[in-house]
């Protein structure tokens, strides 16, 4: 991008035109295909109906193939099985006579059938045609691509596997596993995993989503309205609740990992740090979650932590949606802690029993007076309703065990207050940067890398808390360019 800075919008429009033309052609092709398909389907339906009359058992066969696959002699053996419960033997006879026609469910309890995913090899990356690069990070390269057969535009994430000595990295295995398990309207949809010629060329194919919330917030002239914030929060909380009930911790929730489409939906993305957790929890690495969204227990070096770390990140995101900038922008672990305690107060032993026993808190000294305890959310968010402040303070509760869960937060009265959450369809749309041009380098620290967890020493300064006008210089965000909102 740096090579042609002035023609940024020009190239975009040129690309746009080409894109539009291509899309049109595609649409026509699709239409033709559809007609063809409809004709075929009709023919097939007639044939299928005829077939069904002959063998009722077909549907059954599809679903639990093993049973129908077995030769009938084996099945009869089943009913002759000795030692069956005496109580059920009359029905067994009925069954034995029924086995041939497969109409077993009549007059009996209706049983659930579970569809089974197939076991099939990866498709080739050649099925996709590259369009433009979106972002490059330590984990890999994300680019926009088009599925050649269907014409759909997708996001391709190439995993960085070159330097790996231990085979396929466990983090990427977790990313794919958790992304496959966490199916939700507000979690980015994993389509498939495709591979290239070389064994280390692996790409994750996801739906292409136009924006990420971070870039959007940076470029919006006005922050989101309260009603919009509510909708976004409800979406984020319901996605997180689903992840947590499926025993998945995301461990890197932040605005740049929340994608947003032009239909008012956000999608949680980047499961690079996600993993399954258990109950009781095991010691896990502390090096998770981007610094600005990292919870106090992680900063204090807790080795056992749970889903509450995701909730803290959600609290930070909630505040960021209102403020249009990250809530705690620490420069280091220690600075981050002091920023947190500045706003939320230094924890007391009643507020957070046992926090003094966390590894890092022993080496830290905290100024503890009356003024330093208790949160200052009310004055930081003067325009937020009482329920809003109550939700924020329970999301940002210092004690992880007192932090609200995603399930509970969904039922919080804040979401029932006026203004009501805005319907997704009423959301404004924005021009997509990822869609046509390279994105600006994000001005936020990146997710922690593997390595030893840092030890914290020193004094936690709470300077900003005392001065009346402290932090004033940060209130006004500089001009810069802003996107026109349609």
């Amino acid at each position: 991008m740096s090579s042609k800075p002035k023609s940024r919008w020009d190239t975009e429009t040129a690309e746009d035109a080409a894109e539009a033309a291509r899309r049109k052609a595609e649409k026509e092709a699709k239409k033709a295909l559809k007609l063809e398909k409809a004709r075929k389907a009709e023919e097939e339906a007639v044939a299928a109906a005829a077939r069904r009359r002959h063998e009722d058992g077909e549907q059954y066969a599809q679903q639990s193939l093993a049973v129908s696959d077995e030769p009938p002699s084996k099945r009869r053996k089943v009913s002759a099985e000795p030692g069956d419960d005496a109580a059920t033997s009359p029905r067994r006879k009925k069954h034995a006579s029924n086995t041939a026609n497969g109409d077993r469910d009549t007059g009996e309890a209706r049983l659930l059938r579970f569809p089974a995913p197939e076991i099939k090899p990866c498709n080739s990356v050649d099925d996709y045609e590259p369009l433009n690069r979106i972002e490059e990070g330590s984990y890999g390269i994300v680019s926009r691509a088009r599925h050649i057969a269907s014409g759909e535009v997708v996001a391709l994430k190439k995993l960085k596997l070159e330097g790996e000595t231990d085979g396929f990295p466990i983090t990427s295995l977790r990313e794919i596993q958790t992304l496959m398990a966490a199916r939700h309207a507000n979690v980015v949809n994993l389509r498939e995993v495709v591979v290239g010629e070389q064994l280390n060329q692996v790409y994750i194919v996801m739906d292409f989503i136009e924006h990420d919330l971070k870039t959007l917030l940076d470029d919006m002239p006005e922050p989101f309205l309260q009603s919009e914030v509510k909708t976004l929060m409800l979406q984020l909380l319901s996605a997180t609740a689903t992840m947590h009930t499926n025993w998945i911790m995301h461990r890197d929730l932040k605005t740049s990992n929340l994608l947003m489409n032009n239909r008012g939906q956000i999608k949680v993305a980047d499961f690079g740090l996600a993993r399954y957790f258990g109950d009781p929890c095991l010691p896990l690495t502390q090096l998770v979650v981007t610094l600005w969204y990292r919870s106090p227990e992680l900063l204090l070096g807790a080795q056992k932590y749970g889903t509450a770390i995701d909730i803290w990140s959600i609290g930070c995101i909630f505040a960021e949606l209102i403020l249009k900038e990250p809530l705690f922008q620490g420069k280091s672990e220690i600075d981050q802690l002091s920023k947190i305690f500045e706003l939320m107060g230094v924890p007391t032993d009643e507020e957070w029993p046992g926090w003094r026993r966390l590894p890092n808190s022993k080496s830290l000294r905290f100024p503890r007076t009356k003024q330093t305890t208790g949160h200052l959310l009310r004055s930081k968010f003067p325009l937020l309703t009482t329920n809003g402040v109550s939700l924020l303070s329970s999301l940002l509760s210092l004690d992880p065990s007192k932090r609200i869960t995603a399930e509970e937060a969904l039922k919080h009265p804040y979401f029932r207050d006026d203004p009501k959450p805005k319907s997704e369809a009423m959301f404004p749309t924005f021009p997509s940067k990822a869609g046509q041009e390279k994105r600006r380098r994000l001005n936020s620290p990146s997710a922690p890398m593997r390595g030893d967890a840092p030890q914290l020493f020193g004094e936690v300064g709470l300077a900003g808390r005392s001065g009346l006008f402290a932090g004033l210089e940060e209130e006004e965000v500089g001009g810069g360019f802003s996107l026109k909102v349609h």
Partner: protein, 322 residues
Amino acid sequence: MVTIFTTPLATPSQLSTSPSQLVGIPESIEQKLRLVACRLIQAAGILMELPQPTISTAILLLQRYYLTTSLITSPLLQTCLASLYLSSKLTEHPQKPRDIINIFKYLLSPASPLHPPHLLPKLPENEEGTKKRSQKNLYYVSEGDYTALKSLLLSTEAKILRALGFNTTVNLPYSLAFNYLQSLGVLSSTSTPSSPSPPSNPSNPLQHSKLISTTFAYLTDLLCSPSQVYLTHHPHELAVAGIYLAARDHGVKLPERWWEVWDVERETLGFLVVVLRGGTYGHDGKKVWIVEEGDFEEVDGGEVVAIGAGSVEKEVERLRDL
């Protein structure tokens, strides 16, 4: 929350024509090799003190892999190594390639209990010390062997992932079986607040733990069954079948048509029970010995299976000539 009940299953066409059979390996040899793979992985897992779910996952990954790849393109040993390595990562019990390679080399060496006794190398009749040392030499892995095996392990791991489309979901029936037993009220009177346990149940705590371990034993046995039911049935169906047989073994009476509560058809249950009672491959009490390179042969009291690529090819040739 359908996710814990569903697991990727094989299609009928995948089962009827396996890639190994397409390249000319007879079904009998394929079955033998698959059994040997299960044995080796299970033994290695026990020696490495891995939890059973990790071992079961490795066995299932291998079985699924051979649905799309033949035993010629991907010989057995490296696939065993890679699937155990991969499953140790997937189940969060990561192991080093070095340890896995050492263990498998031991299992295939003459020092291993899986080695056919009549093929044991003649040891010089010396004192105990030298005997022990030479025993150790039997499974020493040289640096060159290690490097070669490790690179095979890593490339096979990548191949397994590709062959499975990176869908490594393996949902095992163990935890479901435990839950089902609990909700049937046969484990202990305190574990079921909702349904009072039937009075006919002998509520003897010893029997409860036995009931669970018998159920789990059936489920683990089923992994090595020649019918590969883990590739054709969802975990809830397997769990119900395991419970059915275990409850019968211990004389525990269960409510009428209890399997329908967990959406298992009587027919399915019956089929699985037959499979379970059919046992694993070595049903006629024959012992299976495993060597890396050598001949497939029948000896009294057992048979020898050679897993090396060369040996397999030789055996296929021999059977073709017959």
